[in-house]
């Protein structure tokens, strides 16, 4: 099996690569590329994302044909795709970080700054927080409700249809931190930095 981590030169993806290689061992081939043919022929795709919503969308757009290839992979061929952090946020129709920016539009919704209640909560939301599993998700196999995951973000994804939400976390308000829509998965937290429980989520995705 080939799992491809999309390298679109936006942010630091070393930790994502290291964690997937750790979990995959020699059983699964982990590719890191922006090569469209390799992406097309993969079995699964990981879409990481660091930095701002706009910089990530700009990064995807700067590689000719990449967005179309990813959309075809996820929407037409319906093969499994995991978005991490801004990778998840980009599923939305629109993001409001820096300037209003059009998203991929795969899961209807928007990405807005976390309401920190006039400074009562510090931003970014950095550190280990517990996830409330609200709906069974294939990537949560053997993950306990209230498990700790590592977060670092200032913006949150607000889906229009809550049925895609599989987990939330409490910080200033109830923040959506995991989604699943058919073959499309996303986590706002960083499984690659969430120690053994995070690696289990990666393992679950690889074994889908």
């Amino acid at each position: 099996m080939d799992v491809t981590i999309v390298d679109y030169k936006s942010g630091n993806i070393s930790s994502v690569i290291n964690s997937f290689k750790e979990v995959a061992k020699d059983k699964v081939n982990i590719e890191v590329t922006s090569n469209l043919n390799k992406i097309k022929s993969s079995d699964k795709i990981v879409l990481p994302g660091q930095g701002s919503f706009k910089s990530c969308i700009d990064g995807l757009s700067s590689i000719n044909g990449l967005i179309d290839t990813l959309s075809e992979f996820a929407l037409n061929n319906k093969k499994p795709l995991l978005g991490i952090c801004v990778g998840l946020q980009m599923f939305a129709d629109v993001g409001y970080e820096e300037v209003e920016t059009k998203g991929l539009g795969w899961i209807s919704g928007k990405v807005s700054k976390i309401d920190n209640q006039n400074g009562k909560y510090k931003l970014p939301h950095i550190g280990w927080n517990q996830i409330n599993i609200v709906k069974n998700s294939k990537i949560f196999k053997d993950i306990e409700n209230k498990a700790h995951m590592y977060f670092v973000h200032s913006y949150e994804f607000i889906p229009n249809d809550n049925s895609v939400t599989t987990a939330t976390t409490d910080y200033a308000s109830n923040i959506v931190c995991a989604v699943e829509k058919e073959n499309i998965f996303g986590t706002q937290f960083h499984p690659e930095k969430s120690d053994k429980t995070g690696l289990k989520i990666i393992d679950n995705f690889i074994n889908l």
Binding site: N12, G51, G127, N129, K193, D195
Partner: protein, 250 residues
């Protein structure tokens, strides 16, 4: 609920741990990779490396250490010490660091903080502030605490927040190495002034000091010696904080 973080810090010189404790199950006490792994297995919420390599020809040793550590530890890794430019930050991130802490370069040229947080995201830019009491306030120092700057620490903290720092690592130079506790007043002042997380550093000698650090408003507490010398394990520290009703990840 967001938990308070405990961050053990390792001083690394020429690729080797300085002040490392000789754990029984450790093959090589001076190996930062093994030390970091013990910390992360013990429940450390993050790991911090401070590179104190003095000579330029040995500066590259830290990259190898970071690369090896990031393949074994799956909790966030912060690396600081000698970070001068966007290029240095880029290299550390590519080796597997999750955050880079900047001290002297941020004071000399705040544009480094602005540019790097825009390029890599605020989440990976930590500004390290070394502060020492002077008159009624605190003055910041650069070059590992050797050079006074005349700059007020509170004003500088506020400026760094505006420049895009994701976190502030605040070290009291008066307290560092004394094991008499954090400079609580300094932590309170900075934490209440900025809207980004503050990591308290410098002076931890007992577990009660960690409690005081969190109560001062810091989001995370950093300590070196109490963990280095095995006075307490990270897990013991967490159990103690939990017993004092401070939310931690256990």
């Amino acid at each position: 609920m967001l938990k308070n973080r405990i961050i053990p810090c390792l001083d690394v010189k020429n690729g080797r741990v300085v002040k490392g404790i000789n754990f029984v199950d450790l093959k090589d006490a001076g190996d930062p990779v093994e030390q970091a792994k013990i910390y992360s297995d013990g429940g450390a919420d993050e790991i911090c490396f401070l590179d104190i390599t003095a000579s330029n020809e040995n500066r590259d040793t830290i990259y190898e250490v970071v690369e090896k550590t990031s393949k074994k530890c799956f909790v966030p890794l912060t690396v600081g010490g000698g970070v001068r430019s966007i290029d240095d930050i880029n290299k550390l991130l590519n080796c597997g660091a999750d955050k880079v802490s900047i001290n002297t370069a941020a004071v000399q040229n705040s544009k480094v903080v602005e540019d790097s947080s825009r390029k890599f995201g605020s989440q990976c830019i930590v500004v390290a502030i070394d502060a020492k009491r002077k008159d009624d306030g605190w003055e910041i120092f650069t070059h590992g605490g050797r050079n006074p700057t005349g700059i007020n620490a509170l004003q500088f903290a506020s400026k760094m927040e505006k420049c895009g720092a994701g976190e502030l690592l605040v070290t009291s130079m008066d307290k560092d190495g004394t094991q008499s506790g954090y400079d609580i007043e300094l932590m309170q002042k900075i934490s209440s002034m900025v809207n980004i997380p503050v990591i308290a550093s410098g002076g931890v000698g007992t577990l009660e000091h960690l409690v005081d650090g969190i109560k001062s408003g810091a989001s995370a507490v950093l300590a070196a010696s109490i963990f280095h010398y095995g006075t307490y394990s990270v897990n013991e520290a967490k159990q103690y904080l939990a017993s004092k009703d401070i939310p931690v990840r256990i």
